[in-house]
Amino acid sequence: MSEALSSYLLFSCAMFAVGLVGVLLRRNLVAMLIGVELMLNAVLINLVAFARFTDGQPGIGQVFALFIIGVAAAEAAVGLSIVLAVHKARGAISVDALEELKG
């Protein structure tokens, strides 16, 4: 099982789907951020799995996995500071507090 590419792909696909559901379902900004991080994490596993099991230089997959981690960190930093700013301004951390951003 752990020697087959497909099992990793299915695993990461499932995790991505769960993250997607999280983003769609939740209204809380932090919970939505968690969903996004889950999706990024799924992609990361996917990349490493491809690096392991397919032709080509295996370093590439890992390097890009590392880049994803970097992007995730940056995204979390900005996202959380926005959450804090929203909380300061609106007193809540729900997307509903940002209604007026709709055009």
């Binding site: 299915l10 769960v18 997607l20 889950l38 690096a51 230089q57 981690i69 960190a73 930093a77 700013a85």
Partner: protein, 176 residues
């Protein structure tokens, strides 16, 4: 043995992911998120990418999860459970998610990838990765560091601006 560990890790991380999405209190979501990351870091280790797994632990768990917990603590506990959970919303979200899963899963499984079998472990070492980052991928590496710098500056500015309008006494207390 490895299969057993793999199965266990998959169960742990998917359970964590579901917790992270389905539970109502954000703090519980975060615990689930931590579980999911721990599990998937284990999966990454099984894939042979030790260094990536480490970074997953250090940054996802040590950095992001902690920062999120911090954000949760800043908000009052009362506002954390007033959320719209109507069956329509739940069904819609789960429907889209499972639809995605089916379509992409099918595509992935039916795809033909140039298989190479498990690769040489030396190509997965931290040393090899370091060399790659500083030679072939030096430009993306720099771009990422630029992105991180921009993100940090941006978040500092966003967080700062919201602090300016509080009128509480600040004299005599040094900024933290």
């Amino acid at each position: 043995m490895v299969d057993l560990a793999f199965g266990f890790l998959i169960v742990v991380s998917l359970a964590g992911a579901v917790m992270a999405v389905a539970l109502k209190k954000v703090f519980h979501n975060l615990i689930g998120f931590g579980l999911a990351i721990l599990g998937s870091a284990g999966v990454t280790v099984i894939l042979g990418a030790e260094f990536v797994a480490l970074m997953q632990l250090l940054i996802f768990l040590g950095g992001i999860a902690i920062a999120m917990v911090f954000a949760v603590m800043m908000s009052t506990p009362r506002e954390q459970d007033e959320e719209d959970r109507s069956p329509g919303r739940v069904l819609g979200a789960v429907g889209i998610g499972s639809g995605f899963m089916v379509v992409v899963g099918f595509l992935m499984l039916s795809g033909v990838f140039p298989a190479a079998g498990p690769q040489d472990d030396a190509l997965f070492s931290a040393q090899h990765l370091g060399l790659l980052l500083l030679s072939d991928y030096a430009l993306p590496f720099e771009a990422i560091s630029l992105l991180l710098l921009a993100a940090i500056l941006g978040s500092v500015i966003v967080a700062r601006r919201s602090r300016e309008d509080d009128d509480l006494p600040t004299e005599g207390v040094e900024g933290v």
